[in-house]
Symmetry: C2
Subunit: 247 residues, 2 copies
DNA sequence: CGCCCACTTGAACGTGTTCAAACGTCGTGG
DNA sequence: CCACGACGTTTGAACACGTTCAAGTGGGCG
């Protein structure tokens, strides 16, 4: 039972380090509490001091910050295999909230248990650390979009990123991936009103680069979309670069 | 000699963990290569695969990404005691550049050496990991500013952040801190043109909240500035929350 | 003293926002 | 099976924030 749950995590980490038997065992024997959530539910909220992290097994999550009652900035979207709140292992007070987008299956892991594992197994620690660094790399790239790119480029870039990430976990088929978010959520992630998001979307559609409807993103012209969004996947650090230990 | 150089780092880490004698020794005996840089010089560039990290001892640094030849997004400013490229320990290819703002003194530490320390001393690893998580928390807060706040609020928020960080390392005096950046750099960090940055700045000055001239930031009305920028310091995670290990 | 660089100002323009209404689609219940 | 309701998407039009271009000002340093 618990074996199944950390599988996704182990698979992810093994793209970076070759885990030894004892390392794999340590991860497999981590107590994981399974829990299902409906759509649009907060999992943890800004200001909380959670005692566990959660591994996303199925579904889509997002992280957000509210600002001044009416506005929110979506900070990230998360897909299966990720641990969206791994940071809470070291930063005790949450500075943002985590919520489901779709109905989701989560595996909760006690900080204490995780802490013992990262203390005993430096290579696991390194691989997890690396995950949080990629998280930060994605934030940086979003900052570039928010600060420097016009609406259509921002959207195009976002689509490229999500496609690349979803493809990497095997969720792409026929040039399409599931992306079950509304235009309003898209706008809140990209710092755009839903109205303008809609119009910029028509722009991309008009050039026959993508279609995005009913939670499905289909890329018609990858080259064109990547060019429109100035997308360069380096920041996702997907090329394993095998082994995080230097030299 | 090398003792002096890692002092700033040790002091920083000790606000979070109580280091044992052997842990402190390990840090003190880290080989550090000192090097001076002039103003406005690249230290490492996007695409590089550096073999070392650098600890900032004196001066100001910034990280940036260029986009489309003419625009750049500044991702972060760094102040003494920080390791701006710690991430390169695990993410081999740099996805952005690091440069000096003012003439600076840097201590370079080989990845290999640092890797041995974090492998042997999990608590040091945890404290450094935590630093990179705070880095990410700052990115998130900047995303909120870039996506949701109007120019004056963005600037006000930024000033509050820099003041808080500089104060924490003892660089504040009489409600003022050194902040030797131009309005153009400020704009590039906040996603604003230098012209508009200038006008928004006049706005804040007109309300007698701050003055910012000749590289010096003086806060006249902290409450007012924080309100204007909707600033809440939680995300800086400066309250030590003593000991990163859970429970 | 003079130059360079940063800051400042003005004015036209453009991207994106806001408000408001209409449309479409899907799921529910009569 | 159709009617209804809810929610997401689409459209229009006025407006605002921020950009761009261009020229001018001012201070620090060689």
């Amino acid at each position: 039972m618990t074996k199944v749950t950390t599988d996704a995590l182990i698979r992810k980490l093994e793209t970076v380090v070759d885990l030894s038997a004892s390392e794999r065992d340590a991860l497999l024997s981590l107590p994981v509490m399974l829990r299902d959530f409906g759509a649009d539910q907060d999992i943890v909220r800004e200001g909380d001091r959670p005692s566990h992290c959660c591994l996303l097994l199925e579904g889509f999550l997002l992280r957000y910050k509210l600002v001044g009652e009416t506005r929110r900035q979506i900070l990230a979207f998360h897909i299966p295999g990720e641990i969206p709140d791994l940071q809470s292992l070291y930063l005790k007070t949450l500075d943002h909230s985590l919520a489901t987008v779709t109905p989701s299956k989560l595996g909760f892991i006690q900080h204490q248990d995780l802490y013992h594992v990262v203390t005993a197994f430096p290579r696991i620690a390194g691989a997890l650390w690396r995950e949080t660094l990629i998280d930060a790399a994605i934030f940086r790239e979003w900052m570039v979009g928010l600060g420097q790119r016009r609406a259509p480029a921002r959207i195009a870039h976002f689509f490229c990123e999500m496609f690349a990430r979803l493809e990497a976990i095997g969720m792409a088929a026929d040039g399409a991936v599931p992306l079950p978010i509304t235009q309003e959520e898209l706008g809140d992630a990209l710092g755009l009103s839903s109205v303008h998001t809609n119009r910029a979307l028509q722009d991309l559609r008009g050039k026959d680069l993508v279609s995005f409807e009913r939670g499905k993103l289909t890329i018609h012209n990858w080259g064109g979309l990547a060019a429109a969004g100035e997308f360069d996947a380096t920041y996702l650090h997907q090329n394993p670069e095998r082994r995080p230990e230097p030299a």
